[in-house]
Structures are given as structure tokens and as C-alpha cells.
Symmetry: C2
Subunit: 187 residues, 2 copies
DNA sequence: CGATTCAGTCTACGAGTGTTGACTGAACGG
DNA sequence: CCGTTCAGTCAACACTCGTAGACTGAATCG
């Protein structure tokens, strides 16, 4: 019996299993939300075991926190026109296909208070930053509308799958881009 | 012991209790979503009993269906400018304070498949109707963006409570109205 | 090799859920 | 006035969930 090289070292196995669990968690949290996703279902989809999920991630809450962590947006700075361009580019990314991680956060946001706070914090911080650089005394309001528009588009496309929102990101940007620029400059 | 006039007839009592349950259900479904709202909590808030809720409404699902029924929007017809005006007026209503019924549907939509389908159906039908009357070959896309913008504003204001979106409906409409008109006319 | 660590499995517990059915007393109808 | 109906109460059931802990066998290390 050859025992010189094991199929996989322990750390490899561990990393692989954790990754499989995390992937399954993202998919299921994103598809069914926090409450309707069970540790058991995640374990099954990952070809693993509920007890193992608990041991590796501590609790369902902590697993969710890792699975739905919102990647920090790049800083948005410059003239109103530049800001509009940066926001439009960021929106293009968000409209790209199936951002499973953010999707989980988005969906859970409406039933999971902590997730809601995280999304809120992420949006608010970027929005404050943008508002400070926009002209006009309704800058806060206008940057809020930009945020609402962005959120609405992402939700409508990925979660609601609304009619007409299934166009290519380019077509969507062609319609929405000018609006964002208007809101940014205050025209 | 006077027994000629009871405090309340049976039908009165029944109606009152059903109404209390429905009110409590709307509030709790709207605040915590479908899964996190328990029949027990609804019964307690209504000053009633879980068993009674079941007997009157059949099941949690059916209670939710009654509590979160989406009121049909008025038909949207006319020239692009008129359509823009009607959509803006409808949005004004939706931005008014605490539309508990629709709020329950909106929140549940992200975790409760049936609620999602209901919201989707309501939005899609109105959107189709609007798109058919707008000029341009990207009418479907533009009316979709109007829907997304509307959804985004309502969600941002009532559910996320985003910065800047807490302005008065009039201030919001002052910013959003022109955008809707642009999208409607295709300028 | 021998002892130890650790990935992975299995079973079970305690809490909370929707739902059911028996029971009580007051309103109802004849 | 009496039998029936029904609003309201209470206790229990069946089930699912997150979680804890014992156990197994293979990888690891001195």
C-alpha cells in the first residue's frame, strides 16, 4: 500500500471543502434568502455535512456574513461629469450576469436586519461621498435618487426579472447613463 | 341581569376581530417579512389567539394573501406627456407615508416566491400597457427603466430608508418628474 | 512506528413553528 | 325556555431548524 503521497493534504482538503460550502451558501442564500436557506441544504449541495459547516463557520449567521460580504466599491471622485462616468461604470458591473455574492446580501436585506444594515451602510457611505462633490443645494437628494435608481435597476433585473430589463448592459446604460449624468450635474 | 341587548352581535364581533387580525398581520408582515412573522405574534398583537387566526383565515399563506393583496393601479393612458403625468402622480401616492399593505408584499417579495410573482405580475402588466403607448423602438426598455426607478424609489424610501430619500414627496417629484417625462417621451 | 490531530459522519436535543381539535360560555333561533 | 351555533381559549401534535457532542479513520509529526 503506497502511503508516501496522500490524495490531498489536510489543508488542501479543508480549503476545498470550505470553498465548496461557501459557493453553495452564496448560491442558496442568493436564490432563497436567509431564512429559507437551511444549513442542511447548504451542506447537501456542498456534498458535506451540517456539523462540519458549523465547525468551520461557527454559526449560520457567521456563514452568511462571509457569503454575503459586500465588496467595497471603488472611491468615486472628480468633477460631476467624472462622477457620473464612474457611477455608470459601476452600474455596468452590477448589471453583469449573476453577482451571486451581492445578490445574497440584496435578497436577505429585506428579511434579515443585519444584512439590511450592511447594505444600507455600504450605500449610504458611497452616497454621502458622492453628494459632497455634487453641485446644488439638493445634492443629497439627487445622489439619493441615483442610489435608488441603481438599486431599482439591479433589483428589477436580477431579482424581479422585470420586462425590458433583460436587455444587454450596453442598451440599458445607453438609456440610464444620460439620466445619471443629469442627476450628477444638476441640469 | 339585563340580557335584552348584548354588547355586540356575533357578526359585529367577528368582523371586528377579523379586522384587528388583518391590521396586525399587515403591520407585522410589512415590518418583518413573511418568514419572520409568526401566527402567534399576529394573534398577540391583535389581542386574539393563534387558533382563531387559523379558523378565520385558513392558513398563514391565505392570511398573507389577504393582508398583502396589491390594489390594482388605475389604467395609464394617453399621450406620452399624459402618461408621464399619470405615472408621476401614481409615484407620489406610493411615496406617501407607510403604505402598509403594499409594503408587506414588497418586503415579502424577496423571500416569498408567491409574493414575488404577484408583485411581478402587477408591475409587468402596467409596464406592458405603458410600453405599448410610448414612441420609439426602445419603448419596452424605457418603460422598464421607469418601473425600476419607481421600485427603487419606493424600496429606498420605505424599506432601506436611504439618505436623502426622506425628503417630502414634492421635493422628490421635483427631481424625478422630469426624468420620468424624458423616459416617456424618449427625449 | 506510535501518539496525536483533525476532516468528516452520525445522532440527538431543545426551541420554535404552523396547525388541529377539544372545550367553554355566550349569542342565537324557534 | 331550550337546543344549537359559534367566537374565543387552551393544550398538544408533528415537524423542521440550528446546534452540540460523540465517534471513526486517515493524515500528521516526533
Amino acid at each position: 500500500m503506497r502511503r508516501l503521497k496522500p490524495m490531498a493534504t489536510r489543508v488542501e482538503q479543508r480549503q476545498r471543502t470550505e470553498a465548496r460550502i461557501l459557493t453553495a451558501a452564496r448560491r442558496l442564500f442568493g436564490e432563497h434568502g436567509f431564512d429559507r436557506t437551511t444549513i442542511r441544504a447548504i451542506a447537501t449541495e456542498a456534498g458535506s455535512d451540517p456539523g462540519l459547516v458549523m465547525r468551520y463557520f461557527g454559526s449560520k449567521e457567521k456563514l452568511f456574513a462571509q457569503a454575503a460580504a459586500i465588496p467595497a466599491d471603488r472611491p468615486i471622485e472628480g468633477s460631476p461629469e467624472q462622477i457620473a462616468r464612474l457611477l455608470t461604470a459601476a452600474l455596468t458591473d452590477k448589471l453583469a450576469d449573476e453577482p451571486t455574492a451581492a445578490l445574497a446580501a440584496l435578497r436577505a436585506m429585506f428579511s434579515h436586519p443585519e444584512a439590511a444594515e450592511e447594505v444600507r451602510a455600504a450605500m449610504t457611505s458611497q452616497q454621502r461621498q458622492v453628494a459632497a462633490q455634487l453641485p446644488g443645494d439638493d445634492a443629497v437628494l439627487r445622489s439619493g435618487v441615483i442610489g435608488a435608481l441603481t438599486l431599482g435597476l439591479v433589483v428589477s433585473r436580477h431579482l424581479v426579472r422585470l420586462d425590458g430589463l433583460d436587455a444587454s448592459p450596453e442598451e440599458l446604460i445607453a438609456v440610464v447613463g444620460p439620466i445619471i449624468e443629469e442627476l450628477a450635474t444638476g441640469a
